[in-house]
């Protein structure tokens, strides 16, 4: 920390609460002395000036004097109700950039050969990444048996994406625990740390415990999400006709099933898709859009009915993962998707 000495002292004096809008806090109105307001305004202006010059401290919790890393590490596992191997957990929270910086710092201080008894989390991170990816893939396949493999991989990509994992990492409080060069830690750093934590849990408590952890924190992110917001179907019409063709069915037939206010700007048209006189799906269009748009909507609805991903399907059974049949069998790819096979698959 290369802050000026004077400022370091100042931080622990009474009234420098960093980045707090003093004039707007309630305590302002609880204080009756006339001198306090100008005093606080002065402090605030001074803080603004310091912010401009870049003299303000970071908000890192570890900058404060009562920071106790050991107890934080202990509390981390207790908070999550998990048993971690402590030395492994410490290793998982060390980013390689931290080791580089520490080595440089020791060399600056005159240590010829810095002897740091620590190794980074790169290895653990890769291990954890594989665990998350494997389990997520198996779980999504087991819960969405009828969904094409393309959809499954889109969902898994979403679950293992950097944004999502770093958000989860922040959620379980990794931000202050990670030893890293920069503060606040970057997305990649948090993701690596989170993956390493998963790997550590695997090594300390076993794979099944680890899977429960992944299920609770990562897979539950699918709750309340629409699959087709994650997996974007580009051309539903051609996909639907392709599926029908593959299965030896007739080409689908769009029909106008409802219309209202035809000559107005708020016209409503509803189009339904039928195949061999069987209803498949429905969609709407409105004034100004082409008929193709409505057919596309209807085809898309028909696909979501075929893939059993409508809003009416029962929620993902997170509470009974042992009842799911987790295996390595891939789902049907979209080019070779069979209606008959899908109807034989029984979802639990």
């Amino acid at each position: 920390m290369s802050l000026p000495k004077a400022f370091q002292l100042l931080r622990f004096t009474t009234y420098v609460a960093p980045r707090r809008l003093i004039s707007a806090t309630a305590c302002t109105y609880g204080i009756k002395s006339r001198w306090q307001m100008p005093y606080r305004v002065t402090l605030k202006n001074r803080m603004k000036e310091m912010e401009k010059k870049g003299l303000l401290p970071t908000n890192a919790r570890s900058d404060f004097i009562e920071w106790n890393y050991d107890s934080e590490i202990y509390a981390f596992g207790k908070r999550l109700h998990e048993e971690f191997d402590e030395s492994l957990l410490r290793q998982a929270l060390i980013d390689p950039s931290y080791i580089t910086r520490e080595t440089l710092r020791q060399q600056e201080l005159g240590v010829e050969v810095p002897a740091l008894q620590m190794s980074g989390n790169s290895e653990l991170s890769t291990e954890g990444k594989d665990i998350i990816f494997d389990y997520a893939t198996k779980f999504v396949r087991a819960t969405h048996r009828v969904l094409p493999e393309e959809g499954v991989s889109a969902l898994v990509d979403y679950l293992t994406s950097e944004e999502l994992l770093s958000e989860i990492g922040h959620g379980i409080g990794l931000k202050d625990l990670i030893l890293t060069e920069e503060y606040p830690p970057s997305q990649v750093t948090v993701v690596n740390a989170f993956q390493s934590v998963v790997a550590v849990l695997n090594r300390s408590s076993g794979l099944s415990r680890c899977h429960i952890f992944v299920k609770d924190f990562v897979l539950t992110q699918l709750v309340g999400k629409n699959i087709y917001d994650i997996w974007k179907i580009e051309d539903p019409v051609s996909i639907l006709s392709n599926i029908l063709l593959q299965n030896g069915r007739e080409a689908f037939e769009p029909r106008l099933v409802f219309q209202s206010g035809k000559n107005t700007i708020q016209a409503v048209y509803q189009v339904a898709v039928y195949c061999e006189k069987q209803f498949m799906g429905t969609g709407m269009k409105w004034y100004g859009e082409t008929v193709n748009a409505a057919v596309e909507q209807a085809a898309w609805d028909a696909l979501s009915r075929l893939f059993q991903t409508t809003e009416a399907v029962s929620p993902i059974p997170f509470e009974k993962p042992e009842q799911l049949n987790l295996n390595d069998n891939k789902n049907m790819p979209i080019d070779n998707w069979s209606i008959d096979r899908a109807s034989n698959i029984v979802m639990c």
Binding site: N226, Y228, D229, F258, Q259, S260, G261, K262, N263, T264, Q266, V268, Q270, G283, M284, W286, Q297, W300, D301, S304, E311
Partner: protein
């Protein structure tokens, strides 16, 4: 907004066009019914600030039936704003002038008195007879049930129907039925 939500939104707030046949109907009772449709209170999503009312096309307003002595007793008041500008018009006079006005005024007075009233009235289309322009007929997507069935007058029955109608008793042969 995802595609499914967009469709759902449009389906929820799409406007319906209802047809209402005012023939032999009480316009004041009908106004209670029509009011619900043009202000949207017939939908569970209703909220006073939620613009979810539907259109209503009223036909045959010339053939409405006012109850009791209303044609002669009901008076419509108007004031031009100048001294001596007050005028009182009887319902039958108003109806002769414009056969849509009795229905229109009935609905207008039943609506809530606020700034939304004019907008709601714009969704009411009244026609004196059953001749409706094609551009409006094409919009229709539903129908409001009449409050009561139109009664069939004696002169609407054919002679055969009248003859074959079951009788309680027969007139004496020498009885002369006065015309």
């Amino acid at each position: 907004m995802s595609a499914i939500r967009r469709v759902q939104q449009w389906a929820t707030f799409g406007r319906m066009w209802y047809l209402y046949d005012a023939k032999w109907q009480n316009p004041f009772d009908s106004a209670d019914k029509i009011k619900e449709y043009i202000s949207g209170t017939h939908k569970p999503i209703y909220h006073p600030l939620n613009d979810c009312g539907d259109h209503v096309v009223v036909i045959n307003s010339r053939h409405i039936a006012l109850p009791g002595m209303e044609w002669e007793r009901r008076v419509y008041f108007h004031h031009t704003g100048y001294p001596g500008g007050a005028s009182w018009t009887l319902a039958w006079e108003l109806h002769r002038k414009d056969p849509t006005l009795v229905v229109r005024k009935a609905v207008y007075s039943k609506l809530d008195k606020n700034l939304l009233r004019r907008g709601k009235m714009a969704r009411l289309h009244i026609f004196a007879d059953d001749e409706v322009p094609n551009s409006i007929l094409e919009n229709l997507s539903g129908q409001i049930r009449q409050l009561r069935a139109v009664p069939k007058r004696l002169d609407h029955y054919t002679d055969e129907e009248i003859k074959s109608f079951p009788r309680i008793f027969d007139w004496p042969k020498d009885y002369v039925i006065p015309n």
